[in-house]
Each structure stands twice: as structure tokens, then as C-alpha cells.
């Protein structure tokens, strides 16, 4: 009877599956707050994907007979000034939040990391020039820069994503550069240079994978920030426009006007924003602690 030899891939697959589950288990046990944050993040993502299945009403459907209705069996979280169901708008609003959050964090962290690593790799005048440009952007608080960009580009989801992602780029570049400066001196980078590899290959294949830990941490940290910024811009009337369901948008206009008479219009979207940002921050902090080798040794 011939015995079929187990392939390396199969073995490594089993090993990596187990190790992944173990890692998750360890993470949950060692960092329960981070695990709770991660669970809320996952729920948020699932809700945003399944919004059309779980929302009790069309988020755009008005019901002028039920304007400013308080929370009840028909409308669990009440209705807004146009009789739209607040719960449904929060559920659909998570789509906007996740879309803007992930898009901004991905663009900001990725572009920033590439710039930071490139800057560290070339060093000298290139580094000096890139860093001074980054310094200019860093001189402005995140919200001010986002406001400036959105006032130039105009409102709408696409522009909001660009407006939030741009201020994140220099911040990500700064973090990535400091990590990449150490990697740049590694013997394997020297070896790659000596072997005559092109700069592009060295940056993308040898340096970038080694700044993945700070990249992931930035990604999670920026997610929360992006959600908060999107809500702030929408609240100021510079983000997404009505009738799109968005948490920040739900907090402005009639929600302010009827803050005393219909507080549910502001309370529940406010809670959704707080919960999402808090969850992303908890998860991001725990991830940072888990991935930081210095903290691991402690």
C-alpha cells in the first residue's frame, strides 16, 4: 500500500490554522478589552454589509404622520423630523461610516507608509525634502486640514474620503519612516542592494513587509479617527449630504433644533459614533500592545 506523502502546503496549512486560532485565543485571554473592541468592530462590519436585510424600514422612506415619534414598538429608536426610522438610518449609517472609515484608513496608512519607507530608504536630500513637505501638512490639526480640503473639493462621500485621507498620509509617513530607518540598516537590505536589485523591489519586497506591524496599528487607529472626522464634517454640513444615512448627518439640523423635544434623534446616532470609535480605539490599542515586541518582552 502506497502511502501518499503529506505535502508541505497541507502541513503548513494545518499548522497556520491552529496557530491563527491560538493567536486569537491568546489575544482574547490576554486583552479582553481589545477582544470586546474587536467584537464590536466585527458586528459593525456585519451590520453594514447586511443593512438591507436587518433594517426594519427603508432609511429614506418618510412618514409625515409619524414625525418626531418617540421610541416605540413600531420604531424602536423613534423617528426623525421627516418621520424616518432612526434605527434604520443608524443601521444604514454604519455603511457610510465603514466605507469612509476603511477607505480613509487604507488610503492614508498605505500611501503614508509607502512615502515614509521611500523617504527612509533614499535618505539624504530626498528624505529631507519629503519630510519638510510632511512637516507642512503636520503643522495643521487633522480636522482643520480636512475642512480645508473639503471646502476646496466640495461635499460628497468621494470628496470626504479624500479630505480625511490626505491629512492622515503625513502622520502615517512619519511613523513608517522611523520604523524603516532601522530596517534600512539591516544586512538583508544591504545584501539586496549589493545584489543589484532595483529600488522599487527593495522598498516593496524587503522593507514594506517589515513595517507591517506599525502599519496595522495605524490602520486600526485611523479607522476610528476617520469615522469621527466623517461624522464631524457631516455634522458641520461639509460631509455627506441628505438624504444619505450617515451618523454625523443625523446629529445636525433638526436633531439640534429638537434636542429638547426629541432627544432620541441625537442620542442614538451619538451613541453609535461613540461606540464605533471606542471599539476601534480599544482594538487598535490592544493590537499595538500585542504586536509591539518591546511590550511583549515586558
Amino acid at each position: 500500500m502506497a502511502i501518499r506523502p503529506t505535502s508541505v502546503t497541507e502541513v503548513s496549512g494545518i499548522v497556520s490554522d491552529r496557530s491563527w486560532l491560538t493567536e486569537v485565543g491568546d489575544f482574547c485571554r490576554e486583552r479582553p478589552l481589545g477582544a470586546i473592541g474587536a467584537a464590536v468592530v466585527v458586528v459593525n462590519i456585519l451590520v453594514s454589509f447586511a443593512a438591507n436585510l436587518i433594517a426594519p424600514y427603508d432609511p429614506l422612506a418618510t412618514d409625515y404622520g409619524a414625525m418626531l415619534a418617540r421610541p416605540s414598538g413600531a420604531h424602536w429608536l423613534g423617528t426623525d423630523a421627516f418621520g424616518r426610522d432612526v434605527l434604520s438610518r443608524i443601521i444604514y449609517g454604519s455603511r457610510t461610516a465603514m466605507l469612509v472609515g476603511f477607505a480613509c484608513a487604507l488610503i492614508g496608512a498605505t500611501v503614508g507608509t509607502v512615502i515614509g519607507v521611500t523617504s527612509a530608504y533614499f535618505a539624504g536630500r530626498v528624505d529631507l525634502l519629503i519630510q519638510r513637505v510632511m512637516d507642512i501638512f503636520l503643522a495643521f490639526p487633522l480636522i482643520i486640514l480636512a475642512l480645508a480640503v473639503v471646502s476646496i473639493l466640495g461635499t460628497g462621500i468621494g470628496n470626504v474620503i479624500i479630505a480625511i485621507a490626505i491629512p492622515m498620509i503625513p502622520r502615517a509617513a512619519l511613523v513608517a519612516r522611523s520604523s524603516a530607518l532601522a530596517i534600512r540598516e539591516m544586512p538583508y537590505v544591504d545584501a539586496a542592494r549589493a545584489a543589484g536589485y532595483r529600488h522599487q523591489r527593495i522598498i516593496l519586497r524587503h522593507m514594506l513587509p517589515n513595517v507591517m506591524a506599525p502599519y496595522l496599528i495605524m490602520l486600526t487607529a485611523y479607522l476610528g479617527q476617520a469615522i469621527l472626522l466623517e461624522a464631524s464634517l457631516s455634522f458641520l454640513g461639509l460631509g455627506v449630504s441628505e438624504p444619505t444615512a450617515a451618523w454625523g448627518l443625523m446629529l445636525r439640523g433638526a436633531a439640534v433644533q429638537f434636542a429638547e423635544a426629541a432627544p432620541w434623534m441625537a442620542i442614538f446616532p451619538g451613541l453609535a459614533i461613540s461606540l464605533a470609535v471606542f471599539a476601534f480605539n480599544l482594538f487598535g490599542d490592544s493590537l499595538r500592545d500585542a504586536l509591539d515586541p518591546r511590550l511583549k518582552t515586558q
Binding site: 414625525m67 466640495g154 461635499t155 460628497g156
Partner: protein, 532 residues
């Protein structure tokens, strides 16, 4: 006699009870009126400015030739201010005004026809480099003459039904001729009129103070010792000022929720006056962009609106209410509701209207789910709620509309004037209810730069001229109806959403002030008094 005893007793009791009420309505002298102003004056010259931030604090320093009756809620009844009487020549091209005698400027000099002529020359024929915001409304005036110290004559190029209303403009303050002769821009930085209150001080960003003019020509007036206009931009702070009784009134208007919160907090200490407002949000459809060049599509957009339900719903959350045509409801030239219902989009049978709208869209080749961008101005009240309502109404006929909100300061320059839009929100607000002023914008684009729908309609232009030159009110009314039908029904070049609704909740101590459909009118404060 016994039969009549109960009647006599009731009559005596009624008289006794009515006594104090009558006494209460007798104006009381003294006190300082404090009012909030949400905007500040860019300059002090009413002839060049267009914000109520100039009118509210400064109108009490001046008089105009004519004014609207301070007790007339429609804001259409003209009475003499500095003019004692006036006549129109048979040909309708000469108006003669007789001025009051003994009217003194605040510096003690006498006001004469030379001052009226100098002021109107500055408004109608301003020297090079001097801005006159409403100059265009007086193109009909050929000359202003002052044949004697107490007579002013306006000679017109053609008869104009709106001339008296234009003369009654609350902006046309009478300035002193000698001052204008020395420096035509003096009034941009200084105040000196004939009004019921003299100027005391203006502290930028804080307040404006006026005190009683003891030599006012209208003997016995004003009743107040003075007034203080407090500049407060934030509406929540304005509400807080009235609620905390730090201000008696804010003359521009509050939202329904702000009114409710004040009434709830202050009960009988608050009196609410409300009125249709001579302001309206319009929907402009760019005739140069497809499919909005097709009147069937434009008609469908108007047919989709359930204006009556919208009025009921939106009036609870926004400063809009009345369903109206081209004139403020209840004013002399307004179309009666029953007749209005015959126009596209004004029917009470909304199901039928929307079915018709869908049919028209299909006939015009517009597919179900067709999408377009609706551009709106970045001002929350009432642009935002009306915008949401419009998009919802258009959804009901299968249109998929995306809203783009453009920053208010850039809106006209970047969106409406260059025609950079498909469908957009437009705005019309008059300082006095007068058809010429309310509908001039709808003339062809070659005539009216404010025609943002960008069409040419010679028939509409002719109707505009005919109504403006009509000999009597009935004839004028007929042309206005024809104009309205062509604009809103036959061609649907533009359409009206809902008329704004002005709500003024004020301290019950304030008497003698009547709301009008314009927040520019009735601001001289000469008849206003305080109960305590």
C-alpha cells in the same frame, strides 16, 4: 323697562370690563426696546445695502416718502410718511408728492423737496462709483423734480403700476441734500435723518443705540425713550436672550421649534405673531441641460410634489408653510386657492398628479430610476428640510435624486449664474409685496440676469410688461394670472415649493408693532410702546 334690565346690566358690565382693556391698549410712554439682530450692517447707507442688518437697527433714524401702513398685516397698503399727499396725472406718467411742512433733520435743519430729490437722484442716477442696490427698479423714472420746497414730481418714461410701491421702499431713506452735495458717500459711515429716533452709538459686534427724537414731526411719537439693537448671530443665543428677557423681540423670525420652546418657557409673557413671508424657495431647472429642456420632464417634477401635505408637515419643523403661486397668499394680486389648484402640481389629488408625472416622464423617454443631481445652498433653514422633502417627493415618481450641498457664499457664483447644475434650489425674497418686484426675475435670460433656469420666453416677457403697465387693478390681476399660468403650468420654467412663514414670538410687553410679510417693513418703531 324691566324687560330691558338684563340687557342694561350686561351692557354696563361689558363696558366696565372693557374699560381696563381699552386703557391697556392706550400707548404708554417710556422704556427702552431691546431687540436682537442676527446680522450686522456692512455700511450705514440704506441705498446701497440689502441686508436686514441695516434696516433693523437704522430704520428708526429715517423717514421715507411713502411707507406701508404700520398696522397693515399684508404690508401692501401705502400711506404717506414724509409725503402728506400724492396724485397721479391722467396719463399715468407723472406723480406729484406734497411734502409735510416742519419736518426737521436731527441737526435741526428743515427737510425740503431738495433733500428728497437729492436722495432719489442718488438712488436712481447714482454718480460713477456710488453703489445703488435697487437702481434697476427705477428704470421707468425719467426725472425727479422739485418745483417748490414742498413738492416733488416723478416723471416716468411709461406708466408703471408699481411706482408707488417702489417709492414706499423701506430702503429709500431721505438724506440731507447739503451733505450729499459735499460728500455723496457721507452716509456710508454716518447717520443723520428725520426719523423718530436719533443715533447714539454703534459698537461693532455688540450693539446699536438710538434715543427718542424730541422734535419728531409726528407729534406725540415715538412712545419709547429709546431702543437698543443687540447683534446676536447664533439663533440659539437669540432664543436664550428672549427667553431670559434680555431682549424683547427679534424682528426677522424664529423657527417653529424655537417658537414652541419660548411659548413653553414663558407662557403668557410671550405673544406670537405670524404671517406668510414674501420669500420662497424655487426650483430652477436648467433648460440648457437634457432632459430638463423638455417641458414634460419639468412638469413631472412639479406634479410630483404634494404641496398640501408638505405644508402641513414642514411647517412643524421649518419656516415654510403656505402653498402659493407668484404672489403671497392673502395679498391683492394673489391667486385664490381654488384657482391655484388648477395649476400643475397644485391639485389635491396627488395620486392622479403622480400618475400623470410618471406618464409624462415615460413619454419624454426618461427611464424609471433616472438619476440626477439636485444642487442646494448650504444654509440649514429652510433649504435643508425643503431639499430633503423635494428629493423624497421625486422618489415617489421613480426618480433617483442625489443632493449636492454647495457652500452658501459660492452658490450663486459657482452654481446658478454659470448654469453649473441640472436642477437647483433658487430663492426669491421681496422687501414689499408687489408683482413687479416678485416676478421680474422670471423674464427671459436676456432681460433678467436672475433667470437661472436659462430660458427665453417672449410671451412671458410681454405678459410681464402688460401687467406692469396695466391701467387698473383688475386688468393687472388678469395679466398676472396669465403670467403665472405660463410660468408654472404651461411651460413650467420654474416652480415654487412653499412660501416661507414668518414667526415672531416676542415679549408681551411689546405693543404697537404688527408683523408683515417682509422682515424689511415696519421697522421705524415710531408706533411701538412697552407696557412696562
Amino acid at each position: 323697562m324691566r324687560r330691558y334690565l338684563p340687557i342694561v346690566v350686561i351692557a354696563i358690565l361689558t363696558a366696565a370690563l372693557a374699560g381696563p382693556a381699552v386703557a391697556q391698549d392706550k400707548p404708554r410712554y417710556g422704556g427702552e426696546l431691546i431687540f436682537a439682530v442676527p446680522s450686522e450692517p456692512p455700511s450705514y447707507d440704506g441705498h446701497r445695502e440689502e441686508t436686514f442688518g441695516v434696516i433693523h437697527p437704522m430704520a428708526p433714524h429715517y423717514n421715507t416718502l411713502l411707507r406701508t401702513d404700520p398696522n397693515d398685516k399684508t404690508g401692501t397698503k401705502l400711506v404717506g410718511d414724509l409725503a402728506e399727499s400724492w396724485t397721479m396725472a391722467k396719463d399715468g406718467r407723472t406723480y406729484t408728492f406734497k411734502l409735510r411742512k416742519g419736518v426737521k433733520f436731527h441737526d435741526g435743519s428743515e427737510m425740503t423737496s431738495a433733500d428728497v430729490k437729492a436722495s432719489y437722484d442718488k438712488i436712481i442716477f447714482p454718480p460713477q462709483g456710488v453703489a445703488s442696490d435697487r437702481q434697476g427698479q427705477y428704470v421707468v423714472v425719467e426725472a425727479v423734480q422739485a418745483p417748490d420746497p414742498y413738492t416733488v414730481v416723478f416723471r416716468l418714461k411709461w406708466p408703471a403700476a408699481s411706482l408707488l410701491a417702489s417709492i414706499g421702499s423701506p430702503w429709500n431713506w431721505i438724506y440731507k441734500a447739503d451733505i450729499l452735495a459735499k460728500d455723496v458717500r457721507w452716509y456710508e459711515k454716518n447717520v443723520m435723518g428725520t426719523g423718530p429716533f436719533t443715533f447714539v452709538e454703534h459698537v461693532k459686534g455688540s450693539h446699536w443705540v438710538g434715543k427718542k427724537n424730541p422734535n419728531y414731526w409726528d407729534k406725540g411719537k415715538p412712545y419709547l425713550d429709546g431702543y437698543r439693537a443687540v447683534f446676536i448671530r447664533d439663533s440659539a443665543a437669540q432664543v436664550a436672550a428672549v427667553r431670559g428677557e434680555r431682549a424683547h423681540i427679534q424682528f426677522r423670525g424664529f423657527s417653529p421649534s424655537e417658537r414652541d420652546s419660548l411659548v413653553q418657557a414663558l407662557g403668557p409673557k410671550i405673544t406670537v405673531q405670524d404671517s406668510p413671508w414674501d420669500c420662497v424657495l424655487l426650483v430652477a431647472m436648467n433648460h440648457e441641460k437634457k432632459p430638463f429642456d423638455d417641458k414634460r420632464v419639468r412638469r413631472a417634477l412639479s406634479l410630483a410634489l404634494d404641496r398640501y401635505q408638505g405644508s402641513q408637515a414642514l411647517s412643524k419643523i421649518a419656516v415654510v408653510k403656505e402653498v402659493a403661486g407668484v404672489q403671497v397668499p392673502g395679498t391683492p394680486y394673489a391667486t385664490p386657492p381654488a384657482e391655484l389648484e388648477k395649476l400643475a402640481g397644485y391639485s389635491r389629488d396627488i395620486a392622479k398628479s403622480r400618475a400623470e408625472a410618471k406618464r409624462l416622464l415615460k413619454e419624454a423617454g426618461v427611464p424609471d430610476g433616472f438619476g440626477f443631481t439636485f444642487k442646494n445652498r448650504g444654509i440649514p433653514m429652510p433649504y435643508e428640510p425643503v431639499g430633503v422633502w423635494l428629493i423624497d417627493q421625486w422618489r415617489q415618481i421613480g426618480l433617483n435624486v442625489r443632493q449636492e450641498v454647495v457652500e452658501a457664499a459660492q452658490y450663486y457664483g459657482q452654481v446658478l449664474r454659470p448654469g453649473n447644475y441640472e436642477v437647483a434650489m433658487d430663492f426669491q425674497c421681496g422687501y414689499i409685496v408687489e408683482p413687479d418686484l416678485d416676478i421680474y426675475k422670471f423674464q427671459s435670460k436676456e432681460i433678467s440676469p436672475a433667470n437661472y433656469s436659462r430660458y427665453t420666453d417672449k410671451t412671458l416677457d410681454e405678459l410681464f410688461l402688460k401687467q406692469g403697465r396695466a391701467g387698473d387693478a383688475e386688468e393687472r390681476k388678469k395679466y398676472i394670472r396669465e403670467f403665472e399660468k405660463r410660468l408654472l403650468d404651461d411651460e413650467v420654467h420654474y416652480f415654487y415649493t412653499l412660501q416661507w412663514h414668518r414667526i415672531i414670538p416676542h415679549s408681551s410687553k411689546v405693543k404697537g408693532w404688527t408683523i408683515t410679510p417682509s422682515h424689511y417693513l415696519n421697522q421705524q418703531l415710531d408706533a411701538v410702546w412697552l407696557t412696562e
